[in-house]
Amino acid sequence: MIWSTRNSAYTFTAPEFPILEKQNWLIHLHYIRKDFEACKAVIKEQLQETQGLCEYAIYVQALILRLEGNIQESLGLFQMCAVLSPQCADNLKQVARSLFLLGKHKAAIEVYNEAAKLNQKDWEICHNLGVCYIYLKQFDKAQDQLLSALHLNRHDLTYIMLGKIFLLKGDLDKAIEIYKKAVEFSPENTELLTTLGLLYLQLGIYQKAFEHLGNTLTYDPTNHKAILAAGSMMQTHGDFDVALTKYKVAACGVTESPPLWNNIAMCFFGKKKYVAAISCLKRANYLAPLEWKILYNLGLVHLTMQQYASAFHFLSAAINFQPKMGELYMLLAVALTNLEDTENAKRAYEEAVRLDKCNPLVNLNYAVLLYNQGEKRDALAQYQEMEKKVNLLKYSSSLEFDPEMMEVAQKLGAALQVGEALVWTKPVKDPKSKHQTASTSKATCFQQPLGSNQALGQAMSSAATYGKLPSGAGGTSQLTKPPSLPLEPEPTMEAQPAEASAQTREK
């Protein structure tokens, strides 16, 4: 070729130095296409030619090493780059990033501050500083840095981290505010939408939660986080078929998600397909054997199936993992009652009453058991306890009581000759419904079962009556039947949304 001859004219006087950056473009092209083998070959060649002076080649080599997990080696190379061109903030940023990945957050912060001196207006430095501070649990500093990062340039990631700070601080309202802004900024980011939806769900603002989760699903119909959350909401409202179709989509993507199978099972449970429910629950349990919620649901379904011995095992396993929940002891007591182990049942009820503060069912079931044992006085005490809780509930939320529970309670009241002291029919509920939003920040265990009781309660009661009917027909004789299977559905429903959100939060 004609042009190659001209260059060689110099070579006699002194060897021409190769241009250091000669193949940087090629290195970069290979790097962005993730063709690391080709990239490494070019880097090696260029480093040989330039005797290790080519900064960019070292830089990319370090990036590749870091992607391959050799963080310590990459750190060394980045430091070498920083020596070759000390004025470049980028090298320092990468040094800091490697330090960060090694868990040396304090050192990373120092280097980032160095880099910030070289480049004042870099959102990335501010953002990463903020993340480092989060890991050091200095949330205020982190917040400042992230806000200044947002000021320089808005990025979804910064919003997410800022939201996380507020979540870590437990300030849900602020977190929601941040995520709202983030969604405004990038309305199609499904992660932001899902997180916002889940936060609303946690606060019990179902309308908005559903809106955002629905948006997520329009942009990404297979987003399993959103499917799980939206499905659990539908389930709460008794739309089991719709929820199931949603779950089916999710089940194609993530076949091994315990919460998903738990929720699918509870859909089947709601549709009274108990065998399918047990199958799914057992799969969920197989996938997550230490998850007490699944064990709880297994216990519940087995109680419904009148497999009391099995139910006992699942419930006692659940109690081993979660020894602080009254409802679990109550279910255990129900199982024990049916297994004719009254003594242990009583002890379980005692524990349930001790632990539970707000569920009138616990007391009612206990009262029924005591009454059946002929201990009228204790039964009365429990009955009054239940009345207290009911009154408390009536005023704190717009909770609908399960009709069967009311029926049993009324009958028990009659039998105990307390009369119709309890007003189950609620007074005007409209003013109370406002309370719901006001009392949002408190424990969610009461908001969750909203509306769910009826559908599930009915399902449960029909399950319970099945096979039981011949035992008695009269009004009082119904009280003598082993009590109150139908009365426990709430906690399951509670378990599901919590589950969904718990699962998403851990990611």
């Binding site: 070729m1 042009w3 190659s4 006087t13 002194a14 130095f17 190769p18 241009i19 250091l20 950056e21 940087n24 473009w25 090629l26 970069h28 092209l29 962005i32 296409r33 993730k34 080709a38 330039t50 005797q51 002076l53 000390p86 004025q87 990038s186 199609e188 980011n189 990404d220 119909p221 297979t222 199931l244 779950y247 089916k248 989509v249 089940a251 194609c252 993507g253 076949t255 699918i264 065998v275 399918a276 199958s279 799914c280 057992k282 799969r283 349990n285 197989y286 054997p289 064990l295 199936m305 009148q306 497999q307 009391y308 011995a309 099995s310 095992h313 049916n338 297994l339 004719e340 096979g467």
Partner: protein, 572 residues
């Protein structure tokens, strides 16, 4: 290039799918040995005879044999290149007849221009300004005013502080050993120090007319973070713009002398927008990922990122949409069908697909035998709409868009998850399971009692055995941490007898000094059928499928009962 002559389709196979496809297979040759990037491909009528040719700056199989390849019809011509090509474009130099476009290959610090496929002109980038301090120091060294050690110190000082980086000569000198310094200085001091940069990317920009056959300027992106616009005739630098980072991809629209917009995707993960009279970027898009391609579709700037997604941006850098890809993007280019006024983005993916998008809508998916690493679309030969792709292994694929083909939304395969109802894979339960359930309903209490009693018995026995062992100083407890003791439980079922063996192991290599031999505890009998009947269920501890009450000692049903061979369940 015999294989290129296979202008007929692949043969019989896939006839039916071809009928429904929008594309005709023209060429599919896995052995062409072309290794290139989308920036190094261009289509042009190089001889002015109406036959468009494909110009490829080929890097060679291992990036060592750079060649200029020109494919006309089925004939391939090659000529060697002096260095690896960073970009190849074709452009018109002058407006008078005969209008034959020139080929420009950017490589290293030079642009090599070919006319009629003959070397025509070589443009070299002007050297970069040298740091005056550095120049001074070397001048002093030249006049022997300073010794090499002082020179080294001074150069190091300059490197620490100066904005302008040192020349290669100085950097080399800083690496030289003490003993060789003298010789190095003597050898090089007479030379003037130089700083040279290289071209990273190149594109064309119409000079003053928007016509198809208007004269175009070359736009060069350099390693020194600059953009240069070259005059097509005199090859002087018409404009110079600086960027905050090194440009990787360029997209230009408009005319140089009227108004133009320039988008440059850079190595720092940002895309910068420049206008005609701006020396510095006007807008900036920070991607927080590396861009892998940049295409201007109508007025939307489509950027592919290395996080497997396509983003659409306006001219002012506002994000319009994002589409997630199923795999990494390897190559991107523009698909322009003049007859229908269609503009779309083609993206070659690592999962051996080429996807065509118009904004967010997926128009078409082409499956290729290998991952496509570069692609371009346009007139080739006498065919207006030809898609040319080269693959990872160096293959060449050409497809012709059928004249009847119309791209409509949803032309790509819809998501299979949504289109067809899927069945939930719910594990089925067997008859035996149902039987067991019924049995548990009837005799649940007895089962429970038996189980509890046996559990207590087992605990009691374990405690007794432990006490016995302690009393007789068998010491089944590992005393030192160096010799841990492992207890290995084996559940064995033989001929209707369920037995568990607890075998203590010394976990260290020595056998355990003392200890009871393997003890077999016979738990009782079980149904052979029950185990066989429910194999698909996962066996886990809390599973109550195993009939607890059955045959366990102490239960109402003693082991004397005959269970063998039958699959009886329920009460007798």
């Amino acid at each position: 290039m015999a294989a290129t002559s296979s202008l007929q389709a692949d043969g019989d196979k896939g006839k039916s799918s071809e009928a429904s496809s929008k594309w005709l297979n023209a060429v599919s040759d896995p052995m062409t040995n072309i290794h290139t990037f989308p920036a190094c491909m261009a289509l042009a009528d190089l001889h002015g005879d109406g036959e468009y040719e494909l110009v490829v700056g080929d890097l060679g199989p291992d990036g060592r044999q750079p060649r200029l390849k020109v494919l006309k019809g089925t004939v391939l011509r090659e000529s060697p290149l002096p260095a690896l090509p960073a970009a190849a474009v074709t452009f018109l130099m002058e407006s008078h007849e005969p209008q034959t476009p020139a080929v420009a290959i950017a490589s290293g610090p030079c642009v090599y221009m070919y006319k009629n496929l003959k070397p025509y002109f070589k443009f070299s980038l002007p050297p970069l300004p040298v740091n005056p301090l550095e120049q001074d120091v070397w001048n002093q060294a030249k006049e022997d005013q300073i010794d090499p050690l002082t020179l080294k110190e001074m150069l190091e000082g300059i490197r620490e502080k100066a904005e302008v980086p040192l020349s290669v000569q100085s950097l080399r000198f800083l690496q030289v050993e003490l003993s060789e310094m003298e010789a190095f200085v003597n050898q090089h001091k007479s030379k003037s120090i130089r700083r040279q940069t290289v071209i990273t990317t190149m594109t064309t920009l119409k000079k003053n007319l928007a016509d198809e056959d208007a004269v175009s300027c070359l736009v060069l992106g350099t390693e020194s973070k600059e953009l240069l616009v070259l005059d097509p005739k005199a090859f002087t630098i018409l404009a110079k713009m600086s960027l905050p980072s090194v440009p990787v991809f360029l997209e230009v629209s408009g005319q140089f002398e009227v108004e133009f917009r320039l988008a440059a995707a850079c190595r720092n993960g940002s895309v910068y927008m420049l206008r005609r009279d701006s020396k510095r970027p006007k807008y900036c898009i920070e991607l927080s990922a590396q861009p892998v391609g940049l295409v201007l579709v109508h007025k939307v700037l489509v950027v592919g990122s290395n996080q497997d997604s396509l983003h659409g941006f306006t001219h002012k850098g506002k994000k319009l949409w994002t589409v997630q890809m199923p795999a990494a993007i390897l190559a991107m280019n523009l698909l322009e069908q003049h007859s229908r006024g269609l503009q779309a983005v083609m993206a070659g993916l690592a999962n051996r697909e080429v996807r065509i998008y118009q904004d967010k809508a997926l128009l078409n998916i082409i499956h290729t035998p290998e991952a496509v690493t570069s692609l371009c679309f346009g007139r080739f030969g006498r065919e207006d709409n030809t898609l040319i792709m080269t693959t990872q292994g160096g293959g060449l694929i050409m497809k012709i868009l059928k004249r009847t083909a119309v791209f409509g939304e949803g032309g790509g395969e819809a998501d299979p998850l949504l289109s067809q109802p899927v069945k939930l894979n719910v594990p089925r339960k067997t008859r035996i399971y149902v039987d067991q359930t019924l049995r548990e309903r009837e005799a649940g209490t007895a089962m429970h009692r038996t189980f509890q009693a046996d559990l207590y018995l087992l605990r009691l026995r374990a405690a007794r055995a432990y006490v016995q062992a302690l009393e007789s100083s068998l010491s089944p407890v590992s005393v030192t941490a160096q010799e841990p003791l492992k207890l290995h439980a084996v559940l064995a079922a033989e001929q209707g007898t369920l037995s568990s063996r607890l075998i203590p192991h010394g976990a260290s290599d020595k056998p355990p000094e003392v200890g009871p031999g393997p003890q077999v505890v016979t738990l009782g009998r079980f149904f052979p059928g029950a185990w066989r009947g429910t194999p698909q269920e996962p066996v886990h501890f809390s599973n109550c499928r195993q009939p607890e009450g059955v045959g366990l000692p102490g239960a109402g049903m003693g082991p004397s009962r005959d269970y063998t061979g039958t699959r009886r369940t329920g009460s007798p």
